[in-house]
Protein backbone atom coordinates (compact mmCIF):
# COMPACT_ATOMS: atom_id res chain seq x y z
CA UNK A 1 0.00 0.00 0.00
CA UNK A 2 1.39 3.41 -0.86
CA UNK A 3 2.09 5.90 1.90
CA UNK A 4 -0.65 8.22 0.75
CA UNK A 5 -3.42 5.60 0.73
CA UNK A 6 -2.20 4.18 4.02
CA UNK A 7 -2.37 7.58 5.68
CA UNK A 8 -5.79 8.40 4.27
CA UNK A 9 -7.14 5.13 5.67
CA UNK A 10 -5.43 5.86 9.00
CA UNK A 11 -6.93 9.35 9.14
CA UNK A 12 -10.47 7.99 8.75
CA UNK A 13 -9.91 5.11 11.15
CA UNK A 14 -8.44 7.30 13.90
CA UNK A 15 -11.29 9.79 13.66
CA UNK A 16 -13.94 7.05 13.65
CA UNK A 17 -12.37 5.16 16.56
CA UNK A 18 -11.98 8.37 18.57
CA UNK A 19 -15.54 9.53 17.94
CA UNK A 20 -17.48 6.28 18.08
CA UNK A 21 -15.46 4.24 20.57
CA UNK A 22 -13.26 6.35 22.84
CA UNK A 23 -15.54 9.37 23.18
CA UNK A 24 -18.38 7.06 24.20
CA UNK A 25 -16.49 5.92 27.28
CA UNK A 26 -17.64 7.95 30.27
CA UNK A 27 -14.68 9.99 31.58
CA UNK A 28 -12.98 8.14 34.43
CA UNK A 29 -13.74 10.04 37.62
CA UNK A 30 -14.76 12.98 35.41
CA UNK A 31 -11.06 13.41 34.94
CA UNK A 32 -9.61 11.47 32.08
CA UNK A 33 -10.84 11.42 28.50
CA UNK A 34 -8.97 8.75 26.53
CA UNK A 35 -7.45 10.35 23.44
CA UNK A 36 -5.81 8.39 20.65
CA UNK A 37 -6.60 10.18 17.39
CA UNK A 38 -3.54 12.49 17.48
CA UNK A 39 -1.33 9.41 16.95
CA UNK A 40 -2.05 10.03 13.27
CA UNK A 41 0.18 13.10 13.39
CA UNK A 42 2.91 11.29 15.31
CA UNK A 43 2.95 8.49 12.73
CA UNK A 44 3.27 10.65 9.62
CA UNK A 45 6.43 10.03 7.57
CA UNK A 46 9.66 11.91 8.31
CA UNK A 47 9.76 13.27 4.78
CA UNK A 48 6.57 15.28 5.04
CA UNK A 49 6.97 19.04 4.70
CA UNK A 50 6.40 21.21 7.75
CA UNK A 51 3.60 23.19 6.17
CA UNK A 52 1.71 20.13 4.95
CA UNK A 53 2.14 18.73 8.46
CA UNK A 54 0.45 21.83 9.90
CA UNK A 55 -2.40 21.59 7.38
CA UNK A 56 -2.91 17.89 8.16
CA UNK A 57 -2.93 18.67 11.89
CA UNK A 58 -5.55 21.33 11.41
CA UNK A 59 -7.70 19.05 9.24
CA UNK A 60 -7.48 16.21 11.74
CA UNK A 61 -8.46 18.41 14.67
CA UNK A 62 -11.18 20.10 12.68
CA UNK A 63 -12.74 16.76 11.66
CA UNK A 64 -12.83 15.61 15.27
CA UNK A 65 -14.28 18.98 16.31
CA UNK A 66 -16.99 18.65 13.69
CA UNK A 67 -18.05 15.36 15.25
CA UNK A 68 -17.88 16.50 18.86
CA UNK A 69 -19.19 20.02 18.17
CA UNK A 70 -16.28 21.82 19.81
CA UNK A 71 -15.02 23.85 16.85
CA UNK A 72 -11.38 24.84 17.18
CA UNK A 73 -10.59 23.00 20.41
CA UNK A 74 -8.80 19.94 19.06
CA UNK A 75 -7.71 21.81 15.93
CA UNK A 76 -5.64 24.20 18.06
CA UNK A 77 -4.01 21.35 20.00
CA UNK A 78 -3.23 19.40 16.82
CA UNK A 79 -1.75 22.43 15.03
CA UNK A 80 0.47 22.99 18.06
CA UNK A 81 1.85 19.45 18.18
CA UNK A 82 2.22 19.40 14.39
CA UNK A 83 4.34 22.54 14.71
CA UNK A 84 6.50 21.12 17.51
CA UNK A 85 6.98 17.65 15.98
CA UNK A 86 9.81 18.46 13.50
CA UNK A 87 11.83 20.27 16.20
CA UNK A 88 11.47 17.34 18.55
CA UNK A 89 12.53 14.83 15.89
CA UNK A 90 15.57 16.98 15.11
CA UNK A 91 16.55 16.92 18.75
CA UNK A 92 15.99 13.20 19.22
CA UNK A 93 17.52 11.94 15.99
CA UNK A 94 20.61 12.76 14.05
CA UNK A 95 20.02 13.71 10.47
CA UNK A 96 21.52 10.64 8.83
CA UNK A 97 19.59 8.27 11.04
CA UNK A 98 16.18 9.56 10.16
CA UNK A 99 16.80 10.14 6.49
CA UNK A 100 18.44 6.87 5.69
CA UNK A 101 16.78 4.16 7.68
CA UNK A 102 13.03 4.16 7.96
CA UNK A 103 9.93 5.91 6.74
CA UNK A 104 8.06 6.98 9.84
CA UNK A 105 8.66 7.33 13.58
CA UNK A 106 8.47 4.04 15.45
CA UNK A 107 10.33 2.17 18.18
CA UNK A 108 12.16 0.33 15.45
CA UNK A 109 13.32 3.40 13.61
CA UNK A 110 14.11 5.71 16.51
CA UNK A 111 15.11 3.35 19.25
CA UNK A 112 12.78 2.57 22.16
CA UNK A 113 13.73 5.35 24.59
CA UNK A 114 13.73 8.26 22.09
CA UNK A 115 10.44 7.00 20.67
CA UNK A 116 8.78 6.88 24.09
CA UNK A 117 10.14 10.35 24.92
CA UNK A 118 8.75 11.60 21.62
CA UNK A 119 5.31 10.11 22.33
CA UNK A 120 5.18 11.33 25.93
CA UNK A 121 6.16 14.93 25.24
CA UNK A 122 3.74 15.43 22.34
CA UNK A 123 0.90 13.63 24.13
CA UNK A 124 1.41 15.78 27.21
CA UNK A 125 1.45 19.01 25.19
CA UNK A 126 -1.67 17.96 23.31
CA UNK A 127 -3.56 17.16 26.54
CA UNK A 128 -2.50 20.31 28.35
CA UNK A 129 -3.67 22.43 25.40
CA UNK A 130 -7.01 20.64 25.12
CA UNK A 131 -7.71 20.81 28.85
CA UNK A 132 -6.71 24.41 29.17
CA UNK A 133 -8.72 25.55 26.16
CA UNK A 134 -11.79 23.61 27.17
CA UNK A 135 -11.84 25.01 30.71
CA UNK A 136 -9.93 28.30 30.17
CA UNK A 137 -8.82 28.06 33.77
CA UNK A 138 -6.55 25.67 35.58
CA UNK A 139 -8.61 25.05 38.70
CA UNK A 140 -5.41 24.83 40.75
CA UNK A 141 -2.05 23.89 39.24
CA UNK A 142 -1.82 20.61 41.10
CA UNK A 143 -5.21 19.42 39.91
CA UNK A 144 -4.42 20.50 36.37
CA UNK A 145 -1.03 18.76 36.31
CA UNK A 146 -2.41 15.55 37.81
CA UNK A 147 -5.28 15.55 35.33
CA UNK A 148 -2.92 16.04 32.38
CA UNK A 149 -0.53 13.36 33.68
CA UNK A 150 -3.28 10.79 34.17
CA UNK A 151 -4.70 11.50 30.73
CA UNK A 152 -1.21 11.19 29.24
CA UNK A 153 -0.72 7.85 30.98
CA UNK A 154 -4.03 6.53 29.68
CA UNK A 155 -3.22 7.74 26.15
CA UNK A 156 0.21 6.10 26.30
CA UNK A 157 -1.36 2.79 27.31
CA UNK A 158 -3.76 3.11 24.37
CA UNK A 159 -0.87 3.88 22.02
CA UNK A 160 1.02 0.85 23.32
CA UNK A 161 -2.03 -1.35 22.67
CA UNK A 162 -2.35 0.05 19.18
CA UNK A 163 1.32 -0.61 18.46
CA UNK A 164 0.99 -4.20 19.68
CA UNK A 165 -2.28 -4.92 17.87
CA UNK A 166 -1.37 -3.36 14.54
CA UNK A 167 2.33 -3.88 14.15
CA UNK A 168 3.70 -1.62 11.47
CA UNK A 169 6.11 -3.61 9.41
CA UNK A 170 8.59 -1.15 8.03
CA UNK A 171 10.98 -1.96 5.34
CA UNK A 172 14.53 -0.87 5.72
CA UNK A 173 14.87 1.94 3.23
CA UNK A 174 17.57 1.56 0.69
CA UNK A 175 18.19 3.59 -2.39
CA UNK A 176 16.64 0.98 -4.63
CA UNK A 177 13.65 -0.04 -2.54
CA UNK A 178 11.81 3.25 -2.39
Amino acid sequence: MSTLVKNIVRFCLFILVQVYVLNQIPPLNHLVVPYLYFLFILWLPYQIGRRSLLVLGFLLGFCLDAFSNTYGLHAAACVLIAYIRPFLINVLLTKEEKELNYNEPSAQSMGLVPYITYLTILTFIHHITVFFLSALQTGGWMYFAVKALFATAVSLVLILLTELLFSRKQRFRTNTAQ
Binding site: R51, L54, F58, Y71, G72, V79, Y83
Partner: protein
Protein backbone atom coordinates in the same frame (compact mmCIF):
# COMPACT_ATOMS: atom_id res chain seq x y z
CA UNK B 1 11.07 46.33 2.05
CA UNK B 2 13.25 43.63 0.63
CA UNK B 3 14.39 42.71 4.11
CA UNK B 4 10.78 42.41 5.26
CA UNK B 5 10.02 39.99 2.44
CA UNK B 6 13.12 37.95 3.21
CA UNK B 7 12.17 37.91 6.88
CA UNK B 8 8.69 36.66 6.04
CA UNK B 9 10.09 34.00 3.69
CA UNK B 10 12.49 32.69 6.30
CA UNK B 11 9.83 32.44 8.97
CA UNK B 12 7.01 31.50 6.62
CA UNK B 13 6.32 28.21 8.39
CA UNK B 14 6.06 30.01 11.70
CA UNK B 15 3.62 32.55 10.29
CA UNK B 16 1.67 29.73 8.73
CA UNK B 17 1.51 28.09 12.15
CA UNK B 18 0.30 31.35 13.70
CA UNK B 19 -2.33 31.65 10.98
CA UNK B 20 -3.73 28.15 11.56
CA UNK B 21 -3.55 28.58 15.35
CA UNK B 22 -5.36 31.89 15.06
CA UNK B 23 -8.02 30.29 12.90
CA UNK B 24 -8.52 27.50 15.44
CA UNK B 25 -8.76 29.93 18.35
CA UNK B 26 -11.16 32.12 16.39
CA UNK B 27 -13.39 29.09 15.80
CA UNK B 28 -13.04 28.12 19.45
CA UNK B 29 -14.06 31.51 20.81
CA UNK B 30 -16.86 32.23 18.37
CA UNK B 31 -18.64 28.87 18.04
CA UNK B 32 -18.50 27.55 21.60
CA UNK B 33 -20.78 29.13 24.15
CA UNK B 34 -18.65 28.67 27.26
CA UNK B 35 -15.41 29.87 25.69
CA UNK B 36 -17.25 32.79 24.14
CA UNK B 37 -18.66 33.81 27.53
CA UNK B 38 -15.25 33.66 29.22
CA UNK B 39 -13.71 35.63 26.38
CA UNK B 40 -16.29 38.40 26.50
CA UNK B 41 -15.98 38.59 30.29
CA UNK B 42 -12.21 39.03 30.16
CA UNK B 43 -12.36 41.41 27.19
CA UNK B 44 -14.99 43.49 28.97
CA UNK B 45 -12.87 43.73 32.13
CA UNK B 46 -9.69 44.71 30.28
CA UNK B 47 -11.42 47.26 28.06
CA UNK B 48 -13.17 48.67 31.13
CA UNK B 49 -9.87 49.22 32.92
CA UNK B 50 -8.40 51.08 29.96
CA UNK B 51 -11.55 53.14 29.58
CA UNK B 52 -11.56 54.17 33.22
CA UNK B 53 -7.99 55.46 32.87
CA UNK B 54 -8.93 57.48 29.78
CA UNK B 55 -12.02 58.80 31.51
CA UNK B 56 -9.92 60.19 34.38
CA UNK B 57 -8.70 62.77 31.87
CA UNK B 58 -11.86 63.47 29.89
CA UNK B 59 -13.88 63.78 33.10
CA UNK B 60 -12.24 67.19 33.74
CA UNK B 61 -13.69 68.65 30.57
CA UNK B 62 -17.22 67.97 31.77
CA UNK B 63 -16.81 68.99 35.42
CA UNK B 64 -18.94 72.08 35.06
CA UNK B 65 -21.87 70.37 33.41
CA UNK B 66 -21.67 67.43 35.78
CA UNK B 67 -21.73 69.75 38.76
CA UNK B 68 -24.74 71.57 37.39
CA UNK B 69 -26.68 68.38 36.86
CA UNK B 70 -25.85 67.15 40.36
CA UNK B 71 -26.90 70.46 41.89
CA UNK B 72 -30.20 70.22 40.03
CA UNK B 73 -30.72 66.70 41.29
CA UNK B 74 -30.02 67.86 44.82
CA UNK B 75 -32.41 70.76 44.48
CA UNK B 76 -35.14 68.40 43.33
CA UNK B 77 -34.55 66.11 46.27
CA UNK B 78 -34.48 68.98 48.79
CA UNK B 79 -37.88 70.01 47.54
CA UNK B 80 -39.22 66.59 48.35
CA UNK B 81 -38.11 66.64 52.00
CA UNK B 82 -40.83 66.28 54.55
CA UNK B 83 -39.65 69.36 56.46
CA UNK B 84 -40.58 71.49 53.50
CA UNK B 85 -44.25 70.88 54.02
CA UNK B 86 -46.21 72.27 56.89
CA UNK B 87 -49.62 70.93 57.53
CA UNK B 88 -52.21 73.39 58.82
CA UNK B 89 -54.48 70.69 60.14
CA UNK B 90 -53.87 70.75 63.89
CA UNK B 91 -55.13 67.22 64.45
CA UNK B 92 -52.15 65.95 62.49
CA UNK B 93 -48.77 66.49 64.02
CA UNK B 94 -45.56 66.05 62.13
CA UNK B 95 -43.24 63.67 63.97
CA UNK B 96 -39.82 62.83 62.64
CA UNK B 97 -39.13 59.14 62.98
CA UNK B 98 -35.78 58.65 64.67
CA UNK B 99 -35.92 54.85 64.72
CA UNK B 100 -32.87 53.24 63.17
CA UNK B 101 -34.85 50.54 61.42
CA UNK B 102 -36.68 51.87 58.44
CA UNK B 103 -40.04 50.20 58.53
CA UNK B 104 -40.61 51.01 54.88
CA UNK B 105 -37.56 49.04 53.79
CA UNK B 106 -39.47 45.79 53.40
CA UNK B 107 -41.84 47.43 50.93
CA UNK B 108 -39.04 48.90 48.87
CA UNK B 109 -39.35 47.96 45.23
CA UNK B 110 -36.55 49.89 43.54
CA UNK B 111 -33.02 50.38 44.81
CA UNK B 112 -30.75 52.99 43.21
CA UNK B 113 -26.97 52.71 43.04
CA UNK B 114 -24.73 55.43 41.73
CA UNK B 115 -22.14 54.55 39.12
CA UNK B 116 -19.41 56.44 37.31
CA UNK B 117 -19.59 56.47 33.52
CA UNK B 118 -16.18 55.51 32.13
CA UNK B 119 -17.00 55.29 28.46
CA UNK B 120 -19.80 56.56 26.39
CA UNK B 121 -20.56 56.82 22.71
CA UNK B 122 -23.24 58.75 20.84
CA UNK B 123 -22.18 58.67 17.21
CA UNK B 124 -22.28 54.93 16.48
CA UNK B 125 -25.28 53.11 14.95
CA UNK B 126 -25.42 51.17 18.24
CA UNK B 127 -24.24 53.07 21.30
CA UNK B 128 -23.05 51.67 24.61
CA UNK B 129 -22.23 53.19 28.00
CA UNK B 130 -19.67 51.53 30.27
CA UNK B 131 -20.11 51.90 34.04
CA UNK B 132 -17.45 51.38 36.69
CA UNK B 133 -19.56 49.11 38.81
CA UNK B 134 -20.02 45.39 38.16
CA UNK B 135 -21.21 42.09 39.52
CA UNK B 136 -19.18 42.50 42.72
CA UNK B 137 -20.96 45.78 43.39
CA UNK B 138 -24.43 44.37 42.91
CA UNK B 139 -25.11 45.01 39.24
CA UNK B 140 -26.67 42.32 37.10
CA UNK B 141 -28.12 42.04 33.62
CA UNK B 142 -31.38 43.74 32.64
CA UNK B 143 -31.22 46.49 35.25
CA UNK B 144 -32.36 49.94 34.20
CA UNK B 145 -29.98 52.91 34.14
CA UNK B 146 -30.93 56.59 34.57
CA UNK B 147 -29.05 59.87 34.40
CA UNK B 148 -28.85 62.30 37.39
CA UNK B 149 -31.82 64.31 36.06
CA UNK B 150 -33.89 61.10 36.40
CA UNK B 151 -34.03 60.67 32.64
CA UNK B 152 -33.78 57.09 31.37
CA UNK B 153 -30.37 56.29 29.85
CA UNK B 154 -30.51 52.58 29.01
CA UNK B 155 -30.40 48.96 30.15
CA UNK B 156 -27.51 46.86 31.46
CA UNK B 157 -26.73 44.10 28.97
CA UNK B 158 -23.38 42.69 30.07
CA UNK B 159 -21.57 42.63 33.43
CA UNK B 160 -18.10 41.58 34.46
CA UNK B 161 -16.54 41.72 37.91
CA UNK B 162 -16.08 45.48 38.10
CA UNK B 163 -17.68 46.88 34.97
CA UNK B 164 -21.06 46.89 33.30
CA UNK B 165 -21.98 47.61 29.69
CA UNK B 166 -25.21 49.50 29.17
CA UNK B 167 -27.22 49.48 25.96
CA UNK B 168 -28.03 53.17 25.67
CA UNK B 169 -31.40 54.45 24.42
CA UNK B 170 -29.44 55.30 21.28
CA UNK B 171 -29.29 51.66 20.17
CA UNK B 172 -31.19 49.96 17.39
CA UNK B 173 -32.49 47.26 19.73
CA UNK B 174 -33.42 49.56 22.58
CA UNK B 175 -37.13 49.43 23.40
CA UNK B 176 -38.65 51.21 26.40
CA UNK B 177 -42.33 51.42 27.17
CA UNK B 178 -43.32 55.09 27.41
CA UNK B 179 -46.41 57.05 28.36
CA UNK B 180 -47.59 60.58 27.61
CA UNK B 181 -47.74 62.31 30.97
CA UNK B 182 -50.73 64.46 30.10
CA UNK B 183 -53.07 61.97 28.40
CA UNK B 184 -51.74 58.65 29.66
CA UNK B 185 -51.50 57.01 26.22
CA UNK B 186 -48.68 54.47 25.99
CA UNK B 187 -46.25 53.65 23.22
CA UNK B 188 -42.88 52.08 22.53
CA UNK B 189 -39.82 54.30 22.53
CA UNK B 190 -37.21 53.28 19.97
CA UNK B 191 -34.35 54.91 18.10
CA UNK B 192 -34.11 55.06 14.34
CA UNK B 193 -30.36 55.71 14.35
CA UNK B 194 -30.56 59.04 12.51
CA UNK B 195 -30.32 61.83 15.06
CA UNK B 196 -28.55 61.52 18.39
CA UNK B 197 -31.15 63.50 20.34
CA UNK B 198 -34.36 62.40 18.66
CA UNK B 199 -36.18 59.20 19.66
CA UNK B 200 -39.40 57.80 18.22
CA UNK B 201 -42.46 56.95 20.31
CA UNK B 202 -44.36 54.40 18.22
CA UNK B 203 -47.87 52.95 18.41
CA UNK B 204 -49.53 55.90 20.16
CA UNK B 205 -53.26 55.68 19.62
CA UNK B 206 -54.76 58.39 17.39
CA UNK B 207 -57.20 59.43 20.08
CA UNK B 208 -54.34 61.07 21.98
CA UNK B 209 -54.18 64.85 22.09
CA UNK B 210 -50.53 65.68 21.73
CA UNK B 211 -48.95 69.12 21.90
CA UNK B 212 -45.41 70.15 21.23
CA UNK B 213 -43.35 70.03 24.42
CA UNK B 214 -45.49 67.41 26.17
CA UNK B 215 -43.54 65.23 28.58
CA UNK B 216 -43.05 61.52 27.91
CA UNK B 217 -42.37 59.35 30.97
CA UNK B 218 -41.86 55.65 31.65
CA UNK B 219 -45.08 53.70 31.85
CA UNK B 220 -44.13 51.44 34.76
CA UNK B 221 -45.17 48.35 32.82
CA UNK B 222 -41.55 47.37 32.50
CA UNK B 223 -39.87 45.75 35.46
CA UNK B 224 -36.69 47.75 34.92
CA UNK B 225 -37.95 51.27 35.57
CA UNK B 226 -40.31 52.74 38.14
CA UNK B 227 -43.21 54.66 36.57
CA UNK B 228 -42.86 58.36 35.91
CA UNK B 229 -39.18 58.64 35.03
CA UNK B 230 -38.41 61.21 32.34
CA UNK B 231 -37.95 59.96 28.80
CA UNK B 232 -38.18 63.16 26.80
CA UNK B 233 -40.29 65.92 25.31
CA UNK B 234 -42.48 65.81 22.21
CA UNK B 235 -41.04 67.57 19.17
CA UNK B 236 -43.63 66.78 16.53
CA UNK B 237 -45.95 64.07 15.23
CA UNK B 238 -45.33 61.98 12.14
CA UNK B 239 -48.85 61.34 10.91
CA UNK B 240 -48.90 58.14 8.92
CA UNK B 241 -52.26 58.10 7.11
CA UNK B 242 -52.12 54.39 6.39
CA UNK B 243 -51.78 53.35 10.02
CA UNK B 244 -54.12 53.68 12.95
CA UNK B 245 -51.42 54.95 15.29
CA UNK B 246 -49.20 58.01 15.60
CA UNK B 247 -45.45 58.01 15.62
CA UNK B 248 -44.19 60.85 17.82
CA UNK B 249 -40.73 62.34 17.60
CA UNK B 250 -39.33 62.86 21.08
CA UNK B 251 -36.30 64.85 22.20
CA UNK B 252 -34.46 62.74 24.74
CA UNK B 253 -34.29 64.10 28.29
CA UNK B 254 -30.74 62.89 28.82
CA UNK B 255 -27.80 64.63 27.24
CA UNK B 256 -25.89 61.50 26.31
CA UNK B 257 -22.82 63.41 25.23
CA UNK B 258 -21.96 64.82 28.64
CA UNK B 259 -23.15 61.91 30.78
CA UNK B 260 -20.66 61.38 33.63
CA UNK B 261 -22.73 59.80 36.39
CA UNK B 262 -25.61 57.37 36.28
CA UNK B 263 -27.85 55.50 38.68
CA UNK B 264 -28.50 51.79 38.25
CA UNK B 265 -31.94 50.64 39.32
CA UNK B 266 -32.45 47.26 40.90
CA UNK B 267 -35.96 45.90 41.06
CA UNK B 268 -36.10 44.01 44.37
CA UNK B 269 -39.48 42.45 43.63
CA UNK B 270 -38.62 41.26 40.16
CA UNK B 271 -38.20 37.62 41.15
CA UNK B 272 -41.55 37.54 42.88
CA UNK B 273 -43.32 38.87 39.80
CA UNK B 274 -41.44 36.52 37.50
CA UNK B 275 -42.21 33.50 39.68
CA UNK B 276 -45.87 34.42 39.62
CA UNK B 277 -45.85 34.77 35.82
CA UNK B 278 -44.07 31.44 35.48
CA UNK B 279 -46.68 29.76 37.66
CA UNK B 280 -49.46 31.16 35.50
CA UNK B 281 -47.76 30.08 32.30
CA UNK B 282 -47.14 26.53 33.53
CA UNK B 283 -50.82 26.04 34.29
Amino acid sequence: MRNVIIFIRIYFTFFFFLLLMGLSLYLLFSYNKYQNAVYSEVANEVAGRINSQVNKVTYYFYLKKTNDSLVHANEMLYNKLREDYSITDTTNRLVIDTLRVDSLEQFRRFLFREAKVVRNSVSQPNNYIVLHRGRDQGISQDMGVIAPNSGVAGTVIEVSKNFAVVMSLLHSQSNVSGRLKRGGETGNLIWDGKNKNILLLKDVSKSAKINQGDTVVTSGFSEKFPPGLLLGYVVDIINDKSSSTYTVRVKSAVDFETLQFAYVIQNLQKEEVNDLLKKVKSK
